[in-house]
């Protein structure tokens, strides 16, 4: 009986789990190995025998050095960081205000506005990018960081509003009423009582929004044209490939370095991120 159960656990748990882990993580491993492989080892065709296909005996940091010294990669990292932080901040402020209004205030059209904001949440960027590029150009925002800092909130505000609205609804009304009896204004009670209590929710929304802005691609691809103003995803795609030639070592070094900041933020706030992620679809 016991033996059979152990055998069962291997088949139904350990093996599938191991397969999932390999499937999920192998591309990252391959990214890291490629980034540290010298070129002469990298370009060896698939038929050739290789003593060390899955690791390298001569690890090198040359690709990283090239990337940081000969390309605008440091600029891209800085741009991405700045744009992600500013657009997250804008979205959080808008989302906190709007979420509070929808969760707590009675006014005409609140239901309609809630639905409308939810619908904008579901509008994909690829539906609107062509006219939006025109609007950005008309506003003279093209090729400036503001083009992205103002358009990223379009997919972050609905999400932040939705998540925070749900969070505010879980905070007991009595908390606010006590403050109001003590003479606080509605606005003051919101700022001093509700927002501090909602910090975990705000953090969840913020972390999730930050990773979404770090990931964004199509707006950054279309709105930014100068090499040194690009974000990491766009810079890696458009500037590290010269003509038809792929410098895979450098590309993978860029992919790795471009992923690390967001992975670090994520690793510090996994629980908040997961709350944001699951909350983002709960509604």
């Amino acid at each position: 009986m016991l033996i059979e159960r152990k055998w069962k656990k291997w088949i139904f748990f350990y093996l599938p789990m191991a397969a999932f882990i390999v499937f999920t993580l192998f591309p990252f491993y391959w990214m890291a190995v490629t980034a540290m492989r010298p070129d002469e080892e990298l370009y060896r065709t698939w038929r050739q025998a290789s003593a060390t296909p899955f690791w390298t005996l001569a690890p090198t940091l040359e690709h990283f050095r090239n990337l940081l010294q000969t390309t605008a990669f440091p600029h891209w990292l800085w741009n991405t960081m700045l744009i992600a932080l500013v657009s997250t901040a804008i979205s959080l402020v808008c989302g906190m205000f709007a979420g509070y209004a929808l969760a707590r205030l009675k006014f005409r059209g609140s239901e309609f506005l809630g639905t409308a904001i939810f619908v904008t949440y579901l509008v994909p960027q690829t539906l609107l990018f062509i006219p939006l590029a025109d609007i950005i150009r008309d506003m003279h925002l093209g090729n400036t960081p503001w083009a992205l800092m103002l358009t990223y909130p379009t997919f972050l505000i609905p999400f932040c509003t939705w998540l925070l609205m749900g969070y505010f609804k879980t905070i007991p009304k009595e908390l606010e009423e006590c403050a109001r009896i003590d003479g606080a204004t509605r606005f003051g009670a919101m700022i001093r009582i509700i927002f501090p209590v909602a910090i975990p929710g705000i953090l969840s929304a913020g972390i999730f929004a930050f990773t979404l802005s770090w990931n964004e691609f199509i707006y950054a691809l279309i709105f930014m044209s100068s090499a040194e103003l690009k974000t990491v995803p766009v810079g890696v795609v458009s500037e590290l490939i010269r003509g038809d030639i792929f410098f895979w070592g450098q590309l993978m070094a860029g992919a790795l370095l471009g992923s690390i900041p967001v992975a670090i933020v994520y690793s510090f706030f996994v629980e908040y991120y997961v709350t944001g992620l699951t909350g983002s679809v709960k509604g």
């Binding site: 789990m17 999932f20 499937f23 999920t24 993580l25 591309p27 391959w30 990214m31 490629t34 370009y43 698939w46 038929r47 808008c94 205000f97 709007a98 929808l102 205030l105 005409r108 506005l113 939810f118 619908v119 579901l122 509008v123 994909p124 690829t126 539906l127 609107l128 990018f129 062509i130 006219p131 025109d134 609007i135 103002l150 379009t154 509003t161 204004t185 509605r186 606005f187 990773t211 990931n215 691609f217 199509i218 990491v232 766009v234 890696v236 795609v237 792929f246 590309l251 993978m252 992919a255 471009g258 967001v262 992975a263 994520y266 996994v270 992620l277 983002s280 679809v281 709960k282 509604g283």
Partner: protein, 305 residues
Amino acid sequence: MAAPAERGRVSRLTRLLESENLLAATLLTPGVVILVLFIAYPFVMALWFSLTSIRVGDPGEFVGLANFTKAWNDTIFQTAFKNTVFYTFWATIFKLALGMWLALLLNRSFRFKRIIRASMLLPFIIPTVLSAFAWRWMFDPTFSVMNWVLFHSGLITDRLPFLSDGDWAMWCAVLVNTWRGMPFFAITLLAGLQTISPDLHEAAALDGANAWHRFWHVTWPLLIPVTLVVVVFSVIQTFSDFQLIYVLTGGGPANSTHLIATYAYQIGVASGLLGEGAALSLFMFPVLFAVVWVQLRFMKRMEGA
């Protein structure tokens, strides 16, 4: 002298903000302005663009539905539309099946659970274009690690045409999309699983239900609401996807792997035909609208229940 006036103004402002209507309007304005300016307005513009022959540097003129009929008869667009449906359908099926399986595995208790769960989400966190590049490198015609493994284990004698054949490339895109989206399904379904009381399973087990029956008759019915929401989100994301194909194949070989969004980009941005590009994008709208409508209906029903 200034102080009383100042106080008067402040108190008038605070008194105004005591009105729920005015406070709500004030709080909602910043967000609504951004959404109107960068979603509602471009949407109206997209409708207008699609009815004109506008191109970069030329406002064009009203052409009625010509852009739509042109797209409808364009064989590349027909392929792109079919690809989009194929891609969305299969990727969603795989994400749901594998995500559910992974969620059930993660719902058990085992060693290193927290770190394993956290690392399972990595494909979803890391910028898609960057990880798609890693996949493109693994699919590389000359240096593919997968060809290497299959060749040296004797499973193939010639390389597989991962991205150099249209049909193969679409399946590769489905694979990469599944890889990226599966964690989202798994973690959201896991959150749903954790709300199910273990008592239900015990009761079912006492009644003699085996693991499959317990899943099918106890777990699954309780997970349907969260599953529906996750599927809606995923369908929208997948149907409107751009970055993955842009990096993996760029629509090639010979335009055989375009999605609606990548083809709209090629026409609208790369070729500068804004009107035609906007019309191509709008072909996504009916499908997205239907999905959102189903979602809203469902939410209403949940509220009513």
